[in-house]
């Protein structure tokens, strides 16, 4: 959930910088991809979360 709060902060930082830098021809963009089932997610991140937070894994 901390990640969600930071994502919102990143969005606003992106908008502010996009406005500041548009006249220099610099594009500032943010892509929020959510959780993606990559190999890294499946083999590293998910097992790590399950191990560290068993109470979440049971949900």
């Amino acid at each position: 959930m901390v990640s969600h709060a930071l994502s919102a902060a990143i969005n606003n930082l992106t908008r502010s910088m996009a406005l500041e830098l548009a006249h220099d021809g610099i594009l500032v963009n943010a892509i929020g991809v959510g959780a993606i089932l990559t190999d890294n997610w499946a083999h590293n991140m998910l097992p790590d979360v399950r191990k560290r937070r068993p109470e979440i894994a049971k949900q």
Binding site: M1, L6, S7, G25, I26, A35, I56, Q59
Partner: protein, 165 residues
Amino acid sequence: MDLGISGKTAIVTGASTGIGRAIAEEFAQNGMRVVIVARNAEHLCATAKQIASQFKAEVLPVAANVADPAEPARVVASAVERFGGVDVLVNSAGRAHAGGILEASDADWQDMTETKLSAMRRFCQAAIPHNAETPLGPNRQHFFDWRYLSELQTHGFSRTQRSHQ
């Protein structure tokens, strides 16, 4: 499809695994010179060799912890020294701890904030021309794409779990 990025230089953080690596590979495939950044030097150098070999591309690995306030400037300086400038910056390094806002320790909060948010501003400060001493020419075109991971915490976790059932 010609993306018009051939010969340009990109910095990609969090580039030794996952989406960051996929972005670096896509850039290399499209003729870009790529500076890849991650903490684990050994893994990063192996990744750089693989990408360089697979796509016949110039790849410079710079091992760094993006959460360290001094590192973004060093990474950009390395890119400028090797390739003469930076055209594209992708802040793909992320860090997410499971759990709620009220449960997260202050150390975790700081760690995530430095990695996901503060590092982006520092990288942009270092890479974007903001004075006459800029390493970037005035007529070059710059793209700055910021990726962030949302819903990676309990929500994304439980959704991903369900999709496995």
